[in-house]
């Protein structure tokens, strides 16, 4: 596989609250977008990525089938959730911090993705497809056909129903994808997806198909050109 990743502060924020971890050898990729004052967002996403990575790297070789990998991924998100809650308990400045978290394990021609929050995973073959569901109240109400999208109050699109370390508990969501050679997988924070549509992302990925590093730079550049209102983080993997 080929991998490229990068995190950019964007054009409006004073600090970068996103964190990324990529381990090609083990096939583990993690992205987190933190929230909370006093640099707590940075602490939350950093801690979540570290906790989840440690948990995954220690168990990934032993996990043999989809069910075991699923349990491993779930356990990693719970570990991150508990780690942040514990930290927030002992450090008042960190109270109320939380993060989104999307973790992916690539094993035996399959991508296993587990997430909580609104950081996304995409799959690109001929078409681009969003794998993860955003855990926001707006998405929830629309998905359950409780409200039409244009009737959803704007703030509901940003109200997270799940956030690692922040909400009471989390119910991480799992997705599994069979991979073919040439498939691309993208993990990203909402700093990218709030600035670029799925089609715009697809265009950039296809334009720089031969060089993942350029593709990552291209996505960040376009998001910044469109306003760069939040931190922008991208992990791009090509399956060979």
């Amino acid at each position: 596989m080929k991998v490229a990743y990068k995190s950019d502060i964007g054009r409006k924020r004073k600090n970068n609250e996103d964190h990324i971890q990529a381990d090609m050898e083990k096939g583990i990729f993690i992205l987190a977008d933190g929230m909370g004052g006093h640099q707590a967002g940075e602490v939350a996403s950093d801690l979540a990525v570290k906790e989840a990575y440690t948990y995954l790297v220690n168990g990934v070789d032993k996990a043999e089938d989809e069910k075991e990998i699923s349990k491993l991924l779930m356990g990693a998100l719970f570990k991150a959730h508990d780690g942040i809650k514990e930290k927030a308990k002992t450090d008042l400045q960190m109270m109320g911090m939380g993060t989104t978290l999307v973790a992916m394990v690539l094993k035996d021609n399959k991508a296993h993705i587990c997430h909580a929050g609104d950081s996304r995973a995409y799959h690109l073959r001929e078409e681009i497809r969003q794998i993860t569901k955003d855990h926001t109240l707006g998405d929830y109400l629309v998905e359950r056909k409780l409200l039409e999208p244009d009737k959803v109050p704007l703030q509901n699109w940003h109200t997270l129903t799940q956030a690692v370390g922040l909400t009471e508990d989390i119910i991480p969501e799992l997705n599994h994808i069979e991979l073919k050679a040439g498939d691309m997988l993208l993990l990203c924070s909402d700093g990218l997806t709030d600035m670029l549509s799925d089609e715009e992302i697809k265009k950039v990925l296809q334009k720089y198909r031969d060089d993942l590093g350029n593709a990552v730079d291209g996505l960040i550049k376009e998001a910044n050109q469109n306003g760069g209102k939040d931190n922008i983080s991208v992990v791009l993997v090509e399956f060979e």
Binding site: M95, L141, L147, E168
Partner: protein, 542 residues
């Protein structure tokens, strides 16, 4: 004809040692205000506690409805906050000219003024102005009082005694509610009781809760010892020092920060010690982020605005508010050493509270909630759960429940600005009724009734009325290839709550029915008010 509206100037001290004092002027008058100290010639002398007020501070030239104010040779100047579209600070310089300008900048920030402007000689006061001298704030109201013969007959309002809930409407008939103090909302018997206890209670005996040292002289330095008699706790300097832990900022706004207590979502709460009086307080400080975020700041200020007027034995009492040197907002409220019902549920009761005690706490909280729902513009709390119901011991050592954390509270009549917090679920999902998920902004008192019903269910059983997926269950489901259900789906869906008798078969049928009526998903089948729910469970309390 003698029936023309009569102009009247009303000055109300809304903050400071002389808070709640009112002066009314219907005729031409000159009124000098200053601090009570040797050499003062003031007609009204503010408490010597407010050292920043000069002995002769300002002069009012009154000819209702007109009123002009001059600085009367004060040291620090006289300030007027005016809301007229935007908020502007006007100031009349005192003797220390440079200090006055610095102080104007500071006060302008404190009152969120868009600009500040020096006025020479005198300023004409307008209705709604706030006069700030020292730590004292005086509200100016200029009204045209309509003679009784011209007054419309208003619909009769119903008032209850805040202690015993007896109807006291007839006693308050014809009185201007806005001018009444909390004592006016007591029935005759409760007033008598209060007087007797005031006489018999050793007013001078303010005792350190740690070592029982007499703190009578320090405790009343701000003149509020009586007002906070049954509420405030005190520590002497030695006891306070011994409890001190390492905190980021050890002193703020006259308070010594002792240790962290927790977090209220957008503020950090500390246990603090009021240096002047020895009073123990909960000091809630906004996060750095809040002062940069208008939405959160509005929410914090709204919490302060609501809390500072609430006077009820089962609601947490606000003492003070202000801005730190770093320009962070804070407010100071009653310290409740026993923590919250959530804390006690595990520590004291091992996960389940006997139903009699649980009903006792919840009935008290519902009493406070009922007052809150009917308070002024009528509010809803929107975030009731065991974590936001606090406990303290009364004079006899019995625990008393008090509702706190009004951060999500909102008037359900005034549909003002929307301030749902971005990026975070508003309220705790397990305690939310369906209508709060659909339409967070349009909730009614019955929303709070639902949350109190879930709270009572949870206190008694240690569980929730729905089978929300636990972690173990989630992992089990993965093993059999099933997908878990989201709690929101359970709340919004057709799922019926698990009858409480299934968990506690011996529970009184009447109490079980009352709890299930409170947690009805259909609002029309739920108790309409906190009062109704309270009446239904009170008989089971012990």
């Amino acid at each position: 004809m003698g029936l023309d509206p009569q102009p009247k100037l009303i000055l109300t001290i809304v903050k400071g040692p002389d808070q709640n004092k009112i002066f009314e002027f219907t005729e031409q008058d000159n009124f000098l205000l200053g601090r009570d100290a040797r050499g003062s010639k003031a007609h009204f002398r503010l408490s010597p506690e407010d050292k920043f007020v000069s002995r002769n501070h300002f002069l009012l030239e009154i000819n209702p409805p007109d009123c002009y104010m001059r600085d009367a040779g004060s040291l620090n100047g006289t300030f007027v906050v005016r809301k007229n579209g935007g908020t502007i600070l006007f100031f009349l310089k005192g003797r220390e000219e440079k200090q006055c300008v610095d102080r104007a900048k500071y006060i302008a920030k404190m009152f969120q003024c868009e600009s500040y402007k020096e006025v020479t000689e005198r300023i004409k006061l307008e209705n709604g102005d706030l006069i700030k001298v020292g730590d004292t704030v005086i509200e100016v109201r200029i009204v045209q009082e309509i003679p009784k013969a011209l007054q419309e007959v208003k619909p009769k309002e119903v008032f209850s005694c805040i202690r015993c809930r007896k109807n006291i409407s007839s006693a308050l008939q014809g009185k201007e509610v806005e001018k009444l103090t909390s004592d006016d909302f007591l029935c005759r018997e409760c007033k008598e009781k209060q007087k007797r206890s005031k006489k018999s209670s050793p007013q001078e005996a303010i005792i350190c809760s740690g070592c029982h040292k007499d703190l009578s002289s320090e405790g009343n330095r701000d003149g509020r010892a009586w007002e906070l008699k049954d509420i405030a706790l005190y520590w002497c300097k030695n006891c306070a020092s011994s409890k001190e832990e390492k905190v980021p900022v050890p002193r703020m706004g006259g308070y010594h920060i002792l240790k962290g207590l927790g977090s209220g979502g957008f503020g950090v709460v500390y246990l603090a010690w009021h240096e002047k009086t020895g009073r123990l307080v909960a000091f809630k400080l906004t996060r750095e982020k809040i002062k940069r975020n208008k939405q959160l700041l509005d929410r914090f200020k709204r919490e302060i605005g609501i809390m500072k007027e609430l006077r009820h034995p089962f609601l947490v009492r606000l003492y003070d508010e202000g801005i730190t040197e770093e320009e962070n907002y804070y407010f100071v409220s009653e310290y409740l050493p026993e923590g919250s019902l959530a804390d006690q549920l595990d520590k004291r009761y091992g996960g389940r509270i006997p139903y009699g005690e649980a009903c006792y706490f919840i009935a008290q909280a519902l009493d406070g909630l009922s007052y809150f729902h009917n308070f002024k513009e009528k509010y809803v709390h929107r975030d009731l759960k065991p974590e936001n119901i606090f406990l303290r011991k009364d004079g006899k050592g019995k625990l008393v429940a008090k509702i706190g954390d009004f951060g999500l509270a909102k008037s359900y009549i005034l549909h003002g600005g929307t301030i749902t917090k971005e990026g975070e679920w508003a309220g705790t999902i397990y305690y939310c009724p369906p209508e709060q998920i659909h339409s967070f902004k349009d909730v009614m008192p019955s929303t709070d009734v639902y949350a109190m019903g879930i709270t009572l269910y949870h206190l008694i059983t240690g569980e929730f009325p729905y089978d929300f997926p636990s972690r173990k269950k989630l992992l089990d489901m993965i093993s059999i290839g099933e997908k878990p259900r989201d709690p929101i789906e359970i709340i919004l869906g057709e799922d019926k709550p698990i009858r409480i008798e299934e968990k506690l078969p011996t529970l009184h049928k009447g109490l079980a029915n009352a709890i299930h009526k409170a947690i009805e998903k259909d609002v029309s089948k739920r108790f309409c008010s906190a009062e109704e729910f309270k009446n239904a469970i009170e008989r089971y309390s012990s």
